[in-house]
Symmetry: C2
Subunit: 346 residues, 2 copies
């Protein structure tokens, strides 16, 4: 899909439809309602107008929306209405009732967003929640958004590196080295190579997208007290320490392994820019404990900026006027800031 | 060691010497200085006057101290001076330089405190940090304070159950099911029996010491998203869920397994009284992230009240006037409150 190239320096942000049976339509509508006056970011949704008609018919927090024909039109429309770049096929959704029939357009929304960011028609993409189990029934073959984006990125001109999930809030940034695997599998998945690869991606992308000249990565230990000199596990001595040593000689600003329990309090957080944790809960517990609704997910290691709210489809509250747009608004804000830093760095 | 039995309803709190090369003397002195005016708790230290003489010679925050002959005398002395019940042998210590020669008196301080609490001469004990590696050189045979206390408790009249470590702050209480073991060993240590035993100890002791008629225990899952219906690990389905089910039929107020990452934010914390986590960092990260200096450790499952500050000997800052007494003060406050609830319940 190609559109007339923007003449502006600034580009709009593309927001994907997400699963239309979840809260994506509501939080997109509310994010526009809440932020349009600030004019800090201009965004549009890759969705269907009918979903927003249905949203308006069910709420007192109605919004104006308008179909646009190209991303650039979003700038003119945004002050008066949420711009919608329509997907090619109709989408019919009942809140809380996921329907595999919508799988094709859910996926299409993501692939169009990637096309647009790769062809420099949008600055970045913000993905809203999908449910992989619903998409599997529609023939989707990826464990999640991130892997699908990595695949799409490989078809572009720039080579894709490995996608790395980073969680961002106003108080903390963390990266889990391993993610959606049983805890019992974590110790054997930790290798010197994966730590080194991940740290290089974090360091490079934090320079590019966060305006940091020498981002400090604090690496957490795997075991209690980071193994306490080997008395509670050897992974620190045998793998994590040698990896950090190597990375230091390669010029990275990196420290650790630090005991994870004392790494996240207010005073400790002043000493680093990001924590590389060894597993899902080690990286996610502190960020969600400090601020549940403001956590945002971003994927480093891709050739473009992608963020997403840090929650799921929330079928249980869909269509009930209970959805909180804060995480999506934070995701939009982060996408804007990462794109601006990238532009500044160029 | 026996003293005249107190005629008061209230009993003082015994604070152990801890490692005299660490910060124990400083934080005990400062805790008296900070809290004596409040008169909320009366405590004394099981230590040596010479250590406090030395403390006074090195600081501008000097304190008055006085040797007492029995715990009861603490009440008369406390308003004017820190009461010291002297250990039988001299202790000479250089800050930051642990000395195995002091091992005997470090251990003696703990065993006398247990004698006093078992013979109802003190309400509770607050232990200050020791270093097990120093004590090993003095013939100490236990992995830590807790195990030594459990051993001493068994020599008393009441049968000791299994000691269970609980972390307490104003915002959160957590219990790690497994503690100082490599993370790789955790999955195989989780059994239905250990979950059930631990939950019963937590429930019984929270009724006794925390004034809760039906304490709600929230159990965390082991794996990311609590295993997500078995797709990221089976421990939840095979072990944790059946244990919770069994405990519910036995009348416990218990729920879970909950995904650990979303269990600790402000809104979630309103739904339970304590979290039973599966391993060290899962239980300790949230509590230390929320408030590093106010965390307190208490041992449930003992026939008496024991609390301790949630930090170590801090040799690196010992004697430098940098030690923060807040965690010890919180430990004293908690010991006081647990003893008061116990007395109220009797």
């Amino acid at each position: 899909m190609t559109f007339k190239t923007s003449q502006r320096n600034e580009l709009p942000i593309a927001i994907t439809m997400g699963d239309p049976a979840g809260i994506s339509t509501e939080i997109s509508a509310l994010s526009w309602r809440e932020t349009r006056k600030e004019r800090r970011s201009t965004f549009f949704v890759l969705s269907r107008a009918s979903l927003f008609e249905k949203y308006n018919s069910s709420t007192s927090q109605k919004i104006a929306f308008e179909i646009i024909q190209s991303p650039e039109e979003a700038f003119a429309v945004f002050p008066r209405a949420l711009p919608i770049l329509e997907l090619p096929k109709q989408v019919v959704a009942i809140p809380g009732q996921p329907d595999p029939a919508n799988g094709e357009m859910i996926i299409k929304s993501i692939s169009i967003a990637v096309d647009l960011v790769q062809s420099k028609q949008v600055s970045s993409l913000v993905t809203t929640p999908i449910n992989k189990h619903v998409l599997y029934q529609a023939g989707f073959e990826f464990p999640g958004h991130t892997e699908y984006l990595a695949k799409l990125a490989m078809q572009g001109n720039e080579p894709a590196s490995r996608p790395v999930m980073m969680l961002v809030s106003s108080q903390l940034r963390t990266v889990p080295l391993t993610i959606h695997v049983p805890l019992a599998d974590v110790p054997k998945m930790i290798t010197k190579q994966i730590i080194e690869e991940t740290a290089h991606i974090i360091s490079a992308d934090m320079k590019k997208y966060f305006g940091l000249s020498s981002p400090h990565i604090a690496v957490a230990g795997l075991n209690p007290h980071a193994g306490e000199s080997g008395s509670m596990g050897k992974t620190e001595i045998e793998i994590i320490e040698p990896a950090i040593c190597e990375l230091k000689t390669q010029g990275l600003n990196i420290s650790g392994p630090h005991p994870a329990d004392t790494l996240f309090h207010a005073k400790a957080r002043k000493n680093y820019d990001v924590v590389l944790g060894m597993y899902h809960d080690q990286a996610l517990i502190p960020i969600k404990t400090l601020g549940f609704d403001e956590g945002v997910n971003t994927t480093l290691g891709l050739p473009f900026v992608r963020t997403s709210p840090d929650h799921g489809t929330a079928y249980d509250i869909a269509g009930k006027g209970l959805a909180n747009p804060q995480s999506l608004m934070e995701a939009i804000k982060l996408a804007q800031s990462m794109s601006a830093n990238l532009q500044g760095a160029r």
